[in-house]
Amino acid sequence: MSVVTDPAATPAPAPAPASTRGRRLRPAYWWLLGIVGFIALLSLLERVTGADDLTSAGTVGATLIATMPIMLAALGGLWAERAGVVNIGLEGMMILGTFGAGFFAFTYGPWIGVAGSVALGMVGGLVHALATVVFGVDHIISGVAINIIALGAVQYLAALTFTGVEGGGPTQSPKIGNVPTISFPALGDRLGEVEDNNWFFVSEIAAIARALVTNLSVLVLISLALVVLSYVVLWRTAFGLRLRSCGESPAAAESLGVAVMRYKFTAVLISGGLAGLAGGFLAMVASSNYREGQTGGRGYIGLAAMIFGNWRPGGLLAGSGLFGYTETLGLRQGGTSVRALLLLVSLLAIAFAIWQVRRTNFTTATVVFVIGAAIGAIYLSIDQVPGDFTRMTPYVITLLVLAFASQRLRMPAADGQVYRKGSAG
C-alpha cells in the first residue's frame, strides 16, 4: 500500500543538485530565519488587518496545547515509518493513551498517569509490531484493525471501570490531576506590558515568551524535548542509523548484520508509546479527564503532520504547529483572525503567480492568480468569516501547503513494505 506520493506517478521536477545544495546549508540557520520571518509576517498582518489575536500570548499558549498531541502522534509516526512500518493505528494508540492516563492518573496520580498512557499506547504498538513485523500483515490493515479494537476496548473498559465512580461514567473518567506547571508571574507581567505596547515584532516575541513562562506544563517541555531527543537518537547515533536503514533498505541492513526485525519491533513499540503519550497529553494537560471520543481524529492529523514534515522531526513540528495554530485561531476569534489569514493567503498566491510568470509557467500562474484574487476579494467583502468556515481552516491550509510543497517530500524508501527475514541478497 503506497501511502505516499509515488515519484513515478508524478515525475518530480525537483532537481537533484538543488536539493543537495539545500541539504548542505545549515538547517538550524534556515529554521531560525524561517521562524523570524514568519513572526514578522504575522505581526505585519496584524497591523494591516487589525486582527490582534493572531499573535497574542493566549493564542500562543493555546497553540502549544493544541500542537503537542498532534506533534507527539506525528513523532510516533516518525519512529515507525523511519523503520519502515506505516502506522495508521496512531489514532487507536492515542485512544488507548487517553484511557491509560484517565485510569492510572485517577488511581495513582499524574505521573503514573503519564506512564500509564505511554504503557497503554505501547500495548497498541505491540499488537501492531506483532502483526506487521512478526506476521508480515499489511501495515494498513493492521493499523485499521487496531483503531477499531482500541476504540471498542477503551469504551468497554471505561464502562467497566468508571461507571458509578464519583464524577465518572461510562464515557468519562473523574477529573484527574495535572502534572506540574511552571510559571514566572513577575516575568510574565513584564512581558505582558511589552506585549501591550504593540511594538512591531517585539510585542510578538514578548507574547510568545509570555506564553512560555505562564502556566507552562512540564509535559509540554517533555514533549518538545522528545522531538529533540528523537532527532539526536535517529540521526546522530548508531542505533538511529540502524533503525533508519531498516526503513530505507532492510535488505541492505540485514546483509550488514543489523537485526532488522528487532529494530522494527522496537521502533513500533516506541511509536506506540509516543502516540499513547499524545493521548495522555490530551487527557491530562489539554483537558483534565478521559472522555470518549476525545482524540477526535488527531491521530490521523498527526500522521498528516508527519508526512507534511517530510518525515523529519523539525518538519513535523512545523506541520503540527501550523495545524495547532490555525485550529486555535479558528476556535478563539475565528471570524477576524481567519479573515486576516485570507489576506495572507491571497498575497502569497499572487506572489507565487508572479514567480510562475517569471518561470514562464503561464497556466499555473493564471490559475493561482485567479484563486489569489478571488480570496482577496472575499477578504475585502466580509469582515467576519462565518463559524463553519473558521473550523475548516486548519484542514484547508494543510491541503494548500501540501499542494504547493509536497513534491519535495520523500518518504523512507522501504516504508510500508513487509519485510521477511532472510530476504537479503
Partner: protein
Amino acid sequence: MSRVLRALLGLLAPLLALVAAFVITSLVLISAGDPVGEVWSEILQVPETRNLANIINQACVLYLSGLAVAVAFRMNLFNIGVDGQYRIAAFVGAVVAGEAWLPGYLNTALAIVCAMAVGALWAGIAGVLRATRGVSEVISTIMLNFISTSVVAYLLREAAVREEGSNTIGTKEIPEGSRIGSIPLAGSGPGVEIYGFVVLAVLAGVAYWFVMSRTRFGFDLRATGQSTTAAVASGINVRRMTIITMMLSGAVAGLVGLPILFGEAYSYGSTFQSGLGFAGIAIALLGRNNPVGIALAALLFAFLEEQSNPLQILVGVSPEIVAITQGVIVLTVVISYEVVRRFLTRREQSRVARAERPAEPAEPAGPAETQDQETRA
C-alpha cells in the same frame, strides 16, 4: 486438484480468524468478569426476521462503502475519505430529490446521478492533487473529511426545513413517488422489509466485478495498482487513471447514504447515520477487495452490530465488546490468509521448480520446509 484445495484453504482462513476472534473476545469478557456464555448466546442466536431485515439493510450500506474503498484499493490508493464523500453526496442527493424537479422515479434517478457526481467530484479533488501535485491521498482525504463536515453543516443550515417543535433539521422530504419501495422479507409480517436499494447494491457489486476482471479499464487499474512503473511502460496514463479511479471510488461512495435516504429517512438531517466510511475500510480489507468477500464482510459486521445492540438491556454487558471482536477478525483474517498464502506459495514454487528442472524429479518438500525462512519469519 489445486482449485479445490485452494477453495478449501480459502475457507479455512476466515474460519480460523473467527475462532481466534471468539477466543480473544471471550478472554476479555472472562477477565472482566462478564457473563461469557450469555453474551455469546445472545449474539449467536438466530436473528428474528425483523433483525434479519436490519442486518441486510445495514449490510447493504456497509457493502457500498466497502466497495467504494475497494475500488481505490485496487489501484493502491487509500481512500480514507469515503466518509466525507458519502455525507456530502447524500446531502446533495437529498436536496435534489426533495426539490423534485422531475416526477417520480426520474427524480430518483436524477438524485442518484447527482449524488454520485458530487461524490466523484469531492474524491476527485484528492485525485487531482495526487496526480498533479503529488499530494498523498491519505492526507488529502483526511482533510477533505473534516472540510466536508463543515461544508455540509453550512449548506444544511441553508437548505434546512425545520418542523415546528422538532430539534432536528433536515432537507425537504422526498416525495412519496420518488422513494424506493421496500421488499418484504419472505415469510414475515408487514413492516419487516429490506431496502429496495439492495438490488442496486448487488448490481453495483456485479458491475465492480465485471469492470475489474473483464474490462481493459479494470486491467489498467489493477496493473497501475501493482506497479506504477510497469503500468507507465505498458502505455497506461497513470495520472489519468489516478484521477478517474479516485472519482470512481467517490462515485460509489456517493451511493453509500442513498439506501437510507430513499428507503428510510427520506431526508438528510442531523441524525443521519455517520461513520460509514471508516467501517467501509475495515470491510474492504476484510473482504480482500473481492466483491463476494466484501459482501460477506459487510454481512458479518452488520450481524455483529445488530446482535450486540440488546446486550446492554438483556445481559448487562457493554455492546462495545463486539468492536473488539470485529477488529480482531480483521487482523486475524489477514494473519491466517498469510499463513495459508505462504503454504500455497511454497506449493507453487515446488511446481515451478519441477517445471524448470524436468530432468531431475524434485524431491517432496519434506524436512526442507522447516528450513524455509518464511516459516521462521
